[in-house]
Assembly symmetry: C2
Homo-oligomer: 332 residues x 2
DNA sequence: AAGGTCACTGAAAGCGGTTACTGCAAACGT
DNA sequence: ACGTTTGCAGTAACCGCTTTCAGTGACCTT
């Protein structure tokens, strides 16, 4: 186990050729006679030689690898995002390095460090400080994922304003009053946008919006916590607009567990349209966001951007409201 | 953006010293006079020089990086695992590369490729073929995570047999008959173990076990699907033993959505004791598994094993049953 | 038959660091 | 006063691979 690997030179010696020829054979470039090629291949096969990536990287001046930086990876959102990103990277023959910050304060260092291990970095909104973002962008191409473009760093994001349509639907079409918003606007640019769209919809409908959101995280357990906070209080809301589906599902579980009827006693909406959203009872009204496409677009922009600068600077992907039963609409 | 980085030689020229001195200053080794050190540091600061990781790697013959290979990363399990692994790696000053296979057939290549980019690899059970595992282990230290040791490759795992205690509890203490098992034993060594412990408990209690499990994945949505399959059939089970908490929560949601009472009409148990397990209503009876510790132990074993061979070969972490209300026990 | 083309192969120069070894001057010991 | 230690800095040899450039026959052309 862990035997030291053979190098080109050793293989070259064994095959009685020069290192140049071994390199040509192993990467299939240049011309090598049929006979020599076979001899070298036999030796490579026999000794299980695989060229060292670090040697290759150093010589080629490229890593064949990009990184994607996340705050955390719980929940289906990041899973989908990664898949979209990876599938696209794979097509370009590029590896993907996933870096999770877990909101650690020293994670900015890791990101900086990463800059000299990859050819490009996609950074999820609000995972590193602006200063760090600039320094990283000075070394390698960077794309902001689910955030706003900044200092010439392009961004890819989804249209969060659609949550305003959902809010309008609850206020106007269903006539609900006293809505609550679950999500921490300070936590990510996405949630900031959504909270603002929620407020804007209230203004348009001339209904007073709640002064504060319920500033919790984006996981299902946060939704359950939010349900406790909202429903055990003395003036529970009539409807809850959640920053994402996970928290909406948490609120739903919390409400059902308390014997409440959804949407009868409490209407609930989410954002993302994860698989669970259409599986629960009642099915969740939400906003469909092309998460996988978001990841794929980011990867494309990042990888193509490695060559040519100054293409798309701010890709905003369309989203659409999905009306199901959790808001009070009849099943169609 | 993306300017080419400065090299040691350029910094050396700017600071009017040799590359050796720059290297000594930047890594804080060897002796350098106060005066020279300050001059070099000033230049480094001024030009924002950061030594290239790949140059360093090549010279030092170590990457300062280990990898962890997962089948996917949906759900809290992998999130916890990663955190445990990373926190431990961080203490050792080692970076972590996360590789997600998504069950792609060509992912074995990525894993092999990874072998020349890191100093060690932790591979989650059943994510790569045995043959691949051997080849990787021939190049770098490898630890199997949540799987069995193999061909001299050490493993770290949790004691899955405790699910047998839970099964016994349902059969004997509660006297339930007609249990179902949700999980695909072919999907991972963990589920294999759990399915076997489930069957063994039936034999011990002299109750006929169901012939087949409900072979679905480990995500919450799979649990909802399982609920559909089990509860809409003509002989629904009295209790469901799920391979993990996520599916158990899915089954719970499915059952509640159908207007069933849990545990009155259907008892449910899980495995993992994720945060949600104690938040839902009724709270979930499950097996507590030290997921974070599992990750941490794996990292420790992997990183320490880089130096000395032949230490622990099979670490089995203890687990314990957690009896709450979803199995039918009264709330304590 | 001389000159040119072509296919193949090897020697050597990097890529960006680290570090063993060497050199030099100043300080020290006897 | 002379040899020795000590502190500091530079030269050059790697680390594993790619690639340019040059060299060598064999084969064509006129």
């Amino acid at each position: 186990m862990g035997n030291k690997r053979l190098t080109v030179r050793e293989i070259a010696k064994l095959a009685e050729v020069s290192v140049a020829t071994v390199s040509r054979v192993s990467r299939g470039t240049g011309q090598v006679s049929q006979e020599t090629r076979e001899r070298v291949l036999r030796i490579i096969e026999e000794y299980g030689y695989r060229p060292s990536q670090m040697g290759r990287t150093l010589a080629e001046q490229r890593h064949g690898m990009v990184a994607i930086v996340f705050p955390g990876l719980a929940g289906p959102y990041f899973s989908e995002l990664t898949q979209g990103f990876e599938s696209q990277a794979m097509e370009a023959g590029t590896g993907v390095h996933i870096l999770v910050t877990h909101h650690r304060p020293d994670s900015d260092d890791s990101v900086l460090d990463m800059a000299s291990r990859v050819d490009g970095i996609a950074i999820h909104g609000d995972t590193v400080r602006a200063e760090t973002l600039r320094r990283v962008a000075a070394e390698v191409p960077v794309v902001v994922l689910a955030g706003r473009p900044m200092d010439g760093v392009p961004a890819v994001r989804a249209d969060n304003s659609t949550i305003g349509e959902l809010t309008r639907h609850l206020l106007v079409d269903h006539g609900y009053r006293r809505l609550a918003f679950v999500g921490n606007p300070g936590g990510s640019p996405d949630v900031t946008d959504r909270w603002e769209a929620f407020q804007a919809a209230h203004r348009q409908a001339r209904v007073t919006a709640p002064r504060n959101p319920v500033p919790l995280g984006l996981q299902q357990s946060d939704g359950v916590l939010a349900a406790g906070e909202l429903l055990d209080g003395r003036r529970p809301p009539r409807a809850v607009v959640c920053a994402n589906d996970e928290t909406a599902l948490g609120v739903l579980i919390g409400a059902l567990g308390r014997g409440l009827s959804v949407p009868g006693d409490l209407a609930i909406t989410g954002f993302d349209d994860v698989p669970m959203a259409s599986l629960v009872q009642p099915r969740l009204t939400t906003v469909r966001q092309p998460i996988r496409e978001l990841g794929a677009t980011t990867a494309r922009l990042l990888i193509s951007g490695l060559g040519n600068r100054g293409a798309v600077m701010d890709a905003v992907l369309a989203t659409e409201p999905v009306f199901r039963e959790s808001c009070g609409c009849p099943r169609t």
